[in-house]
């Protein structure tokens, strides 16, 4: 049975803390190592894994994730490989969602992708460039296969817009902390708190904050008002900077532990 993100949020809530959500692209730096890295994140305290589906034109991503995704594509990470990686990490105990730009899913076949993800034990999909207006087919397919549709809200979203977004969202709402692309930032924008407050008024779903979070202190700060803390580029950076595979696993584990302590402060 697939474990869903709702379970992770329920556990975190019962422990009076926020959930920790960590991102790594599937197949980065190669398929085999990416599975080990993700498993290390899970054993080091990451509650939900965002498995990135590498795409050639990641226009919401900064240079760090662009570089990682290029490596994953060069290593032969196709959509089938991504689904296989999801299966491997779920089998090892992860609760996993896929983070993908829309075109690879549409090309794979919306129904086929939802079915494939369900079979792999994946819990949901975050598609940063899929708007509620374009979600028709995806709503049908994701419902049919019990896959959560995780949409984003942004600081520029009006209240009416937030209502429209949460009405087609399930699992949790992804609140983008800032106007910008992915990448570590030294401070998390104060706009994030306001956005969470506005989103809270529109939904009882859990709300997780991402974009720019990289340290335990930032995780603690966000955990004070959000239900989840999302960290991506900081994990990728650790892998890019590592001298070898062991060092990469070690560095990713250490960051996960720091962040996991942060959401428990």
């Amino acid at each position: 049975m697939t474990r869903h993100v709702s379970e992770a949020f329920a556990i975190a809530k019962s422990e009076n803390r926020a959930a920790l959500i960590g991102y790594l692209p599937a197949g980065f730096p190669n398929p085999e190592l990416s599975v080990k890295l993700i498993n290390a994140m899970v054993t080091s305290g990451v509650d939900i894994i965002e498995v990135g589906l590498p795409y050639s034109d990641p226009l919401m991503d900064g240079p760090v994730i662009q570089q990682a995704v290029d490596q994953a594509l060069a290593a032969g990470t196709t959509t089938d490989v991504v689904l296989d990686i999801v299966k491997q990490v779920v089998d090892a105990g992860a609760i996993a969602v896929v983070m993908s730009y829309w075109n690879p899913i549409e090309r794979y076949g919306v129904e086929r992708f939802a079915a494939g993800l369900e079979a792999a034990g994946g819990s949901g999909v975050i598609a940063p460039d899929l708007t509620p207006e374009e979600s028709g087919d995806w709503s049908v397919a994701s419902d049919a296969h019990f896959v959560d549709r995780i949409l984003m809200v942004a600081p520029s979203s009006t209240d009416a817009r937030i209502n429209a977004i949460v009405s087609v969202t399930s699992g949790f709402v992804y609140a983008a902390s800032t106007m910008g692309v992915t990448g570590a930032r030294t401070t998390v924008s104060s706009g994030a708190h306001d956005l969470v407050t506005r989103t809270r008024a529109a939904t009882s779903l859990p709300i997780a904050v991402g974009l720019g979070v990289s340290t335990g202190d930032q995780a603690a700060e966000i955990a004070a008002y959000a239900d989840g803390v999302i960290v991506g580029s900081a994990f990728v950076r650790r892998v890019l900077d590592a001298a070898n595979d062991e060092a990469a696993i070690e560095a990713v584990s250490k960051l996960a532990q720091e962040l996991a302590a942060g959401v428990r402060r």
Partner: protein
Amino acid sequence: MTNGHYGPYGGRFVPEALTAALDELDAAFRSAKEDSAFMQELRALERDYTGRPNPLTYAKRFSEHCGGARVYLKREDLNHTGSHKINNVLGQALLTQRMGKKRMIAETGAGQHGVATATAAALFGLECTVYMGLEDTRRQALNVARMKLLGAEVIPVTAGSQTLKDAINEAMRDWVASVDTTHYVLGTVTGPAPFPEMVRYFHSVIGIEAREQILGIEGRLPDAVVACVGGGSNAMGLFSGFMDDEQVILRGYEAGGDGVETGRHSARFSGGTPGVLHGARTYVMQDQWGQTAPSHSISAGMDYPGVGPEHAWLHDTGRASYEPVTDAEAMEAFAILSKTEGIIPAIETAHGLAGAMRIGKELGPDSVVIVNLSGRGDKDVATAARWFGIDLGSTVTNELSPEMREGR
């Protein structure tokens, strides 16, 4: 068209952070269109700054290479800055002011759109940043210099294929972070709504003028109107004037590069499939996994793996048709127009000229064809010289290759 859709194409596939800006732009565009003061200002700029209306020139000697069809050139090359791109940019620059924004960003391939944006920024006193693939900064070096002289910042993009597609990615990344103060002047009829509709609107002056001019000269509608299709803006501008004249053939010519069969091309309709790229659903060159496939063309402005969504719909409905033109065919047409009419076209444009030669032969003598002369070729002199084997080192010109001397 409803909500920015053309059949299944178009729409908006963007990060939520851009939704508010696209809504704001959509509202500004719709209110401006209905605002006579805005439209008067735009028409005055077109007349006094761009130099519109530009002529529809009968190309008598070029027509001899087109199966005897009477071929007319819509002279967008005579616009200030040397291409059709200025039509769209002036409209969007006025909208930038209307929205109270102080900075414009743009992507550019051939550099013509970048130059036009830098020009409008200078004219209106706005800040300007232009993203351009590193590969394109090399093949269009003249336009890089022009943009800098006009006061724009030019940022070479080293990601991916280092061409137009990557410049758009980078411009979008800038825009997500700067959208409060910055307008993204998208340079063609692609991207999320309302860009395809809005860019077409600002270029519709091409078709309106051409229709009136041909009726004045020939006393009848043309049999065909043709244009090169990179993103598709110059084609959409011309086509829009004849869309409702069902007897008029609309034909677009895409970059066939080394030949569609070689895989090295940018022919979305011959070698692509429906997908989502840069915010819209349209025909995209992609692999079986939906990864964007590399495109190729001798011409930077045609070297793009997507195409405007309205073209995708015109293609599927059959109202317009699209054919590939290879690098070699385009360069042949480039040479012929230069030698027969004394007009050096942009290499993008040369794809449309090769198309005119093809369709003229199809339609035969007594047919009338309008081709959009979308831009002039100054920017392409170095590329053309290399193609034709002209030694730029020995500037005095009796060193012309046999091909060039004979206009082959």
